[in-house]
Amino acid sequence: MSSKNTSDKVVGVIGAGSFGTAIANMLAEKTDVLLYVRDKTKAEEFEKNRAVGTHRLSDRIRITNQLSDIGVQCEIIFPIVPSANFREMIRNLAPHLKPYHILIHGTKGLDMTVPEGEHLSKKNPLSRKHVKTMSEVILEETTVLRVGCLAGPNLAKEIEEKQPAAAVVASHFEEVIDQGQKLLKNDRFLVYGSNDLIGIELCGVLKNIIAIGTGMVSGMGLGENSRAMLISRGMVEMVYIGNALGGNTKAFLGLAGVGDLVATCSSKLSRNFTVGFRMAKGESLDDIIQSMEEVAEGVNTIKIIDQLAESYNIRVPITETLHNIIKGEMSVKEAYAYFMKFPFRSEIDFI
């Protein structure tokens, strides 16, 4: 069996959502990019218009709807698709991947899989065995080991507008961090490195929960003090959950943690924030989801984390309250009253 000698260094991006397209455009400033679009008609449309929605596509981006093209032509691949489709996409990509590939994903969600025939019960509660980060999905489904993740306060619209920003590439491999930095870094985009892959992934995942909460606070017309309170309490909750699931506290205090949290919780550009905001205004969750073009990862994350917290015995009042609201068991107003009465002894006890 011979290996392909990759001399043409085209970089792959999987997923033409707003973040995927923003990253593809940014990569295209330095290298040729192959962008995978699952839907054939859409792929043709994007190619014809040289645009994805309102985002213009750089001339160095080619579009394909064959996953095999990505595997064969690219050595470095950025998968950026919603977490609900992530495992399936990786499974389809797997036969085209070789151990020399480098995958840096930009998906901020969790994968939950309960094997067929297995039932969750008190003796077998939902645990880390069932809940995986995206890098773990890649490791499970493929032969690729050089895996990383891209995280940080990266509101796609601002990146498209070429406003200054920064991100973190996390991986156990220095090589992956170096490659990510080389490809993405430019004079308005800083790229930091971290070797706490799980911690950094969890930052991106968990901040979405808090973003939904702060959306609600804003939707209720509450002021900046309330929002700050929720963000900082949310941060503490993120650290607890993060530690229980295998991340280090340090990750949460950096750009991918507190940085991303602040950006997502303050911006109306954030989908998760919007979900909370509209719920507080009285819309139903189903209606909101129906009307959104892209998935708000936070909703799914709340459901998973609430169950996990129970089996790991950690206190997660914000997640728990939000879950009650999503399930329709509590109104936003009741939640607010409940939350203000919740007893906390100390503010920070994890450092």
Partner: protein
Amino acid sequence: MAKKRDEFIQLVVEESFDNMLLLKRGRTLREEIEMTAYREKQRAKNHPWKVDPKDDYSFWDGVQQRVVKLDGLGKKEQNDCLKDILREILNRYGNEIAGNFNPSHYHVARAVVTLGFGRLLNAARVKGPWSLFSNQLDLDDKIHIKGEVDQLRKLAKLGTVVMVPTHFSNIDSVLIGWIIQFLGLPPFIYGAGLNLFNLKVFSYFMNSVGAYKVDRRKKNSIYLECLKSYSTIALREGCHSLFFPGGTRSRSGRIEKALKLGLLGTTIEAQRQIFQFEENPEEKKIFIVPVTLNYHFVLEAPSLINDYLKSKGQERYYEENDEFTTSFKISTFLMKFFTKGSDISVSIGNALDVLGNEVNINGRSLDKNGNEIDLKDYFKSNGEVTEDAQREQEYNRILGKKIVQEFHKHNRVFSSHLVAFTAFRILERKHTSLDLYGLLRLSDEELILPYEEYKEGFSNLLDALRAMKDAGSVGLADHLSREKDEVIKHGIKNLGMYHAQPPLKFSKSGDVVIRNMNLLYYYHNRLDGYELEKYL
């Protein structure tokens, strides 16, 4: 290794010399040498062993003096002198590691030793001293070799095999040596603890079966580099190797969890070098074969578990004193061991490549779906095989994890381990408020478990284990398929059978009595890590 010993050592010296100069650890070469000399002097003074050379202290003292005298010289001269000293140190270490190994005597010595070992076992068994002259070797009822034996034999012809066994007892080294011969495998080289060479019996075995010496007292980077180069070059040259990836014997009785990655890493490095520099790398593939050893008892258990309990939470200095202190004791032990009925199980696991992927009978690496993978691809970036120390460090971690998984999968549960596990966990459940040390101090009257209650817990665990066996996540000894009461009896009879005070016995009324909590804890640990407690 079949080349001349001196040439081989020279290669080791040169490679580790180059590596030392390349390495940046935040220390200069001078600091590195100064520290090594200082530590070695301390060691020679405070922890001398019989095997140490006579000039141990004076050599290191000399090195120290020479470094001090460098101060008056110019920079270039200083540098040249330091390099000379480094080379000298590496030469000394290289010679020490290689030991008296003599390739030309290798085969003869090995044949004599293994024949002797077989005869000894034979004589010790039923037939009396005359059977020393018998050719009948019938050890099948004593040593059960299970697993991928055929694959192991085949791979030893296709490439280089690295056997990585679990390590519970000093007897493991001898046992593995015998197994290699019994299975008709080609010669292996061992990385054996230098302390074993203190004992004449072992020293004789080790020197003749191709052992190289690993001294765990020496933790300086020059020594470690030399040791790594030794192993890497031997692997690259196609020498089948064997080392205990857990380092020392498992003191807690648990299956190794955290492996010593130093020597393990040499397999990855050697494989990459083969891909980089060899013309036909496919013919020199390195295969890792995890091997799980099981005994009903470990002779050194009392002192091992004492060590563990005393030092839990911190790494203690390696102690050389235990039951295996004299050759006489070992010989008596071996005789006793083989005259009384007790089983040994050796499970040969699936072979892995150096990235922890399973390989098929033809030595091809397979992914999780059984598709072939080109191993070389793991070492490539931009289409070329490249050297990246940090990448290989990560690969090493992955390989270590995979080996531990394989150990658990191929471990063969014995009745004795299960009776210990059941008893300890029942006590733990009864006294939820006590920590480990509290449990170990329970009073005698609390150490009686009514048989029915005990049997119920035992049955649940055995059922769970049988289901796990069907799912391929653990192995069970044949005797575990008997009736449950019988298995319990068998377990209690065999658990730690040669200890002055076996951990469990039946009371007159048929209840289960715990007599030695420390040992019970030790043997119970064998089944730690399977999450069995939830079935109790």
